[in-house]
Subunit: 224 residues, 2 copies
DNA sequence: AGACTTACGTTACCGACGGTAACGATTTGC
DNA sequence: GCAAATCGTTACCGTCGGTAACGTAAGTCT
């Protein structure tokens, strides 16, 4: 029985995995606007099973997001924990993040970007009208993801940098701020590719290193 | 005739305004999940009129967003153009942004935050199921808004700071990065209110001023 | 004045979506 | 062999964004 029970649980977990992989495929193919029907079809089953496994669409998405996020978080943590100087660590972390979103832009867009129709050939539901454009409700969850990253970074900062009293709040402000900077700059960069990854890393690290304060005013500028 | 024509145009523009105000009311009341039907009802008309005026939901949203965004942009530009020192200007800009989102959090959430149900009493469509949770497709447009802010700031930076050659790209990276920082930190702050506005402004300005590079390691920390 | 255009407004509808109820199979345990 | 639980289905609901078709009042032309 325990045996049986264990086998069952194992089986359902395997099933879950399988469904998640199918969902992954569909989301990567159809973009964030993938419908539950489409996912079910890809998995070779029908909707109610999906709902039995994940409750609702948000549940499925959450499971999907956790999968992808954990890998990214692990990579970032590794970069953050490298035994090098602070500047090198910051650069490595930025580069790790940018590498990740560069390597799997569709995953990135799915996780972070509310909507964009990351599909190659079918940006919108094939025929009929033109834009049912149901999102995957990604927006509902992308913020939590960024928050998670921000809190994580805040923790690292608080652990390593000695602010005075009340430093915890500063560390959190910095954590969220830096994550937001990375996110926004990365999003822009991924979209326009105006420079190499290394150049962006340098620019952002320079910004974080106070180059804004140190930079000279423009010659012919308005004076200040 | 020209007279007539002018009157007509004026009338339709007034109508547009009126509809936008109604939409505004509904969005502020029902949160970003407001439906076209609800907006039409609030305006005392029916859907097709909305569609004739704004094309589709995105059009309505865009018109709504422009209204609110322009004011914010103007305020930010004023702060950015103040005849003070750079640090003061940065602080003033941050403070202006935070003041804006603090003063009208619902508007902010509508513009920037994909979904959250900013409503006070009716977070989700009253009866029936529980979560139809159609967003206002805000996610589709919040990115453009942030992009716009980022480009705007990039322009200011490029105008005022003298990078070497290739400086335009650096300025844009900084512009988007800083806007992202402001956005993420502001979002976190608005949500948790962990400190006063002034404190957050100081923390972020310090971050931008290179305090990360200058800060001392923690005493008992892992060494670096 | 009476026909004609033009804009405004309506009702009624479409297809797709998220989500669920109700009903078969098929395996499991006694 | 037989009940129970599990896996899967079909068929459906309500809501949504969006549109076609139709009516109506007002200004325009002859």
């Amino acid at each position: 029985m325990d045996n049986r029970r264990g086998e069952r649980e194992q089986a359902t977990e395997d099933r879950r995995r399988e469904l998640l992989e199918a969902a992954d495929r569909v989301v990567l193919r159809d973009g964030p606007g993938a419908s539950m029907n489409a996912i079910a079809a890809e998995a070779g089953i029908t909707k109610p099973i999906l709902y039995r496994h994940f409750g609702d669409k948000g549940g499925l998405y959450r499971a999907l997001a956790v999968r992808h996020t954990d890998a990214l978080l692990a990579a970032l943590r590794a970069a953050l924990d490298a035994p090098t100087g602070r500047r090198e660590r910051v650069e490595a972390t930025l580069d790790t993040y940018l590498s990740a979103i560069e390597a799997r832009p569709q995953v990135y867009r799915f996780l972070m970007h509310p909507a964009d129709g990351g599909a190659a050939d079918v940006p919108e539901p094939p025929a009929s009208g033109e834009a049912t454009e149901r999102d995957f409700e990604v927006g509902r969850h992308s913020a939590p993801l960024l928050r998670r990253l921000g809190e994580e970074l805040a923790q690292v900062i608080a652990d390593r940098i000695d602010f005075g009293p009340g430093g915890a709040v500063i560390a959190r402000a910095w954590g969220h701020g830096i994550v937001g900077m990375m996110h926004a700059a990365g999003d822009w960069w991924l979209h326009e590719r105006p420079c190499s990854r290394a150049e962006l890393v340098q620019s952002l690290a320079d910004l974080l290193w106070g180059r804004l304060a140190a930079a000279a005013d423009k010659a012919g500028g308005p004076g200040l």
